[in-house]
């Protein structure tokens, strides 16, 4: 019992990682077929998670609020469940592939304005964050601030009109310090990723399999 609960998932993960990495390097017939098949499987399992777990979890959570009749909340929860089921049903039964004009209309009318607007709120927050936090407090923040302002003056099309030096300096910052900094971060992060993989292969990384 515990073997299937604790060890087998770790073993599956480890074997998959080792074999999939080997097929990238080793020239054996059928190796690319193996990779394709497994990646397609992962995609399919991922689709099940989105199709089943996501909506189920949401409905269960709001059903809990409704059953407790939490004041100010339960009516909203009824509404949330209703709109989830309606969208799901329109998508599944009216157009199995998701291309009907009804679903596209729902997308244009409901999803596009909400997700674009919530994301656009960060436009306001970035303005107040710039105003409140970006101060020449010490050497380090000053360098960050200076680079940021110069890049903004490069990005704004009007920057080059105010002073032709802005685009030149901005390009140089993108080309040298920005590339240098992120290249170092990227190298270090990739090493971290490989280390994570090695720990998974050796079975020391257990959180995903219910260990701690």
């Amino acid at each position: 019992m515990t073997y299937y609960q604790k060890q087998l998932p770790l073993l599956i993960t480890g074997i998959l990682i080792v074999t999939l990495i080997f097929t990238y390097f080793v020239d054996i017939p059928g190796s690319s077929l193996y990779t394709d098949e497994l990646t397609a499987w992962a995609a399919l399992v991922g689709a099940f998670a989105i199709a089943l777990i996501g909506p189920f979890n949401l409905i269960r959570y709001h059903a809990g609020i409704i059953s407790k009749r939490e004041p100010d909340k339960w009516l909203l929860s009824v509404y949330t469940i209703a709109i989830t089921i309606i969208t799901y049903a329109v998508g599944v039964f009216i157009s199995p592939i998701g291309a009907s004009t009804t679903l596209q209309d729902m997308y244009n009318t409901l999803l596009v304005p909400c997700s674009a607007t919530i994301y656009s709120l960060t436009g306001f927050f970035i303005a107040s964050a710039a105003y409140r936090t970006f101060q020449f407090r010490n050497m380090e923040t000053s360098i960050m601030l200076l680079a940021g302002v110069l890049i903004m003056m490069k990005n704004a099309a009007v920057g080059g009109v105010i002073w032709p030096g802005f685009p030149i300096i901005g390009d140089w910052i993108m080309k040298i310090p920005n590339t240098g900094g992120f290249r170092g971060i990227m190298l270090a992060t990739t090493v971290g990723l490989i280390a994570y993989g090695v720990r998974l292969i050796l079975g020391f990384e257990k959180v995903h399999a219910g260990g701690t």
Binding site: D27, A195, R199, T212
Partner: protein, 261 residues
Amino acid sequence: MSILIEGRSFEFLLLILASAFLAYYIYSARRGYRPQIRKMAPLEAIPEAIGRSVETGRPVLFSVGTSTLYSGGAPQTLAGLSVLGYTANIAVELDVKIAIPLLHPEVIPVADEIIRQAYITAGKVDEYDPVYSVRHYGKHTFSWTSGILGHLQREKPGAFIYMGSMLADSVMVAESGHRAGAMMIFGTASSGQMPFIVAAADYSLIGEELYAAGAYLSQDPVLLGSITGQDLTKALILALILLGTIFMTFGIDFLNNLFSM
């Protein structure tokens, strides 16, 4: 060498070397080898932040970020969870309430287990209130973000610790956390969000520092060994870069030839 696909031999060698370093140090750490890790001020500040919450009678808010357990950001979430273990132990000891809103449902049992363990260790398991501590504000990044924004204004936490992968939520929660007057200790390896946490948080960890945080706090031999192996791999990369540059300066395209083998 004909078994290996042409042009990938040296990549393979690099990967094998890195894996060997990592495996070697993980196992030697398990046998008792203890490397030193350099001091990290943000992590030293966690007890101070919780202490301040005690003085003002306010709760602690924790976040492990926006990544699932099965994507590229997973190591960040795991690192955040190890910092959560450390934080929860101190908070429970000092009788401060700790809340953790989670974006991805599959992290819920893990976080629940970590906080429960902290209460068990302190012998206060009866006081554990999972409904308060482990929350779920919906699986969309922005619904979850708005949940945190509301939480910050309603509960006014004294300390807000956010360790994990971040998206556009970073600037929103940082602004809101400032308005709530929380002491903020943030850490992320998501490059795009680093400028906001460096500017807006009281203490910040960036990039691979976050991965080292778990090892630093927990002193878990596997993680410590892994950090040593990672450092050695980075030293190898540094050596390659320096060697390659020297050859290049004298007109020999040494690395390019090596990597196209």
